[in-house]
């Protein structure tokens, strides 16, 4: 069929794990925005949801680090983290290895994506699923872009990965939704956790909403590290979503929530 839904959202573990420490005036509208995204996602009646994440050493490590990966398993378990720490119950998520295989074969025509028949979800996928698929109804295909262990894939390759995902989604008969998760500027899991460059975030999101490819790809990693921290490297997932969707974006929620360690974002992009 085609790509039928595209969106981006934050995945910071504090969103669930430190929920009570956030200002309700910010937290509750964030949760409401996640709810709106959930409704729109399910209204698109996807046969499967690809979640492009920036996982944090749950599966992939510096002994053999793929720049890009897609899951090809019957099912997936998560969260890998302590459930009391993340405050998301453990669940088994349904996969679809046949669909994964067909998508991977097409993506490989232009991007050398790794595949994985084992994949344990960390907060990068579980926080979004907690809000977007609370009843565990969807078929999930996990994707990953290495945003954690440099050297990192160039932004233009993240764009190419998004284009390849779109081409693959358009080549299968199923209805596919795509959600990319990550942070914009943030310095997670450091003493600077909670530092957020709001101006940088808004500028990036403006480029994303306008589907301004050149502007999105113009950052060097040195500039991103300086202005947006190591967490800023995760813009790769948002860039891939823009490349896949091709349309104009809509920001449903953005606000810096320091105890969540990120400028929390919920946005969708029209499929063009």
């Amino acid at each position: 069929m085609s790509l039928v839904f595209s969106g981006i959202c934050s995945h910071a573990p504090g969103i669930t794990g430190r929920a009570e420490r956030a200002d309700p005036a910010l937290r509750d509208p964030l949760y409401k925005a996640f709810g709106g995204m959930r409704d729109a996602l399910h209204a698109a009646r996807p046969d499967a949801l690809i979640v492009v994440a920036a996982e944090h050493f749950a599966n992939f490590f510096m002994n053999n680090m793929p720049a890009y990966a897609l899951g090809m398993a019957e099912n997936y378990d998560g969260p890998i983290e302590d459930v009391e720490w993340l405050r998301i119950p453990r669940r088994t998520v349904r996969g679809n290895p046949d669909l994964s295989r067909r998508l991977i074969v097409e993506v490989q025509q232009s991007v050398d994506v790794a595949y994985a028949e084992e994949w344990r979800f960390d907060h990068g996928i579980m926080v979004p699923l907690h809000f977007l698929d609370p009843d565990n109804r969807l078929t999930i295909i996990p994707g990953n872009i290495n945003c954690q262990g440099p050297p990192l894939t160039p932004l233009r390759r993240a764009w190419a990965f998004g284009e390849a995902l779109r081409r693959a989604c358009d080549a299968v008969p199923e209805r596919i939704a795509l959600v990319a998760t990550g942070g914009i500027s943030h310095w997670p899991a450091t003493p600077d956790s909670g530092m957020i460059n709001v101006d940088w975030d808004k500028d990036f999101l403006d480029r994303w909403v306008r589907q301004d490819k050149d502007a999105m790809l113009s950052y060097t990693d040195a500039e991103t590290y300086r202005d947006a921290g190591q967490g800023g490297f995760e813009i790769r997932t948002f860039i891939a979503a823009a490349a896949a969707a091709r349309g104009q974006g809509t920001i449903h929620f953005y606000a810096p929530i320091p105890i969540f360690a990120v400028g929390c974002t919920v946005a969708t992009m029209e499929i063009a």
């Binding site: 504090g14 794990g17 430190r18 420490r21 944090h56 050493f57 749950a58 490590f61 510096m62 002994n63 890998i80 983290e81 302590d82 720490w85 344990r120 954690q148 262990g149 440099p150 310095w187 997670p188 899991a189 450091t190 003493p191 600077d192 956790s193 909670g194 530092m195 590290y225 190591q230 320091p258 105890i259 360690a261």
Partner: protein
């Protein structure tokens, strides 16, 4: 004796339930297969979260080790800050601290 080895130990500890049990019952034996310096061994066994941070362990690995050790979030942040105060700036990796040792950003 490298940041890679200590990171690998903590990566495996974060995801391997058998290794977690072994570490709880006989920590010195559990970490024996990893080529660690004496400083690195001490940092893991104590655990000295601040020193592990200064050694350059990626925060996405370190925060889960801290949680496994029962260290609460605010305490985790403070231990890293104390580590910089005690051991000096972060020596490797991409998780260097930008704020001052006595600053508070969020959640401290």
């Amino acid at each position: 004796m490298s940041l890679y080895q200590i990171s690998k130990l903590l990566f495996q500890l974060n995801r391997d339930e058998a290794l977690k049990r072994a570490f709880k019952s006989a920590p010195q034996d559990a970490i024996a297969p990893f080529e660690l310096s004496e400083e690195e061994r001490r940092a893991v066994l104590e655990p000295d979260i601040g020193l592990l941070y200064v050694l350059g362990v990626n925060g996405q690995i370190l925060m889960h080790f801290a949680a496994f050790c029962g260290i609460e979030w605010s305490d985790y942040l403070q231990r890293m800050r104390d580590g910089v105060k005690r051991h000096g700036p972060v020596r490797a990796g991409i998780y260097a601290m930008l704020s001052g040792v006595d600053e508070k950003v969020a959640g401290s």
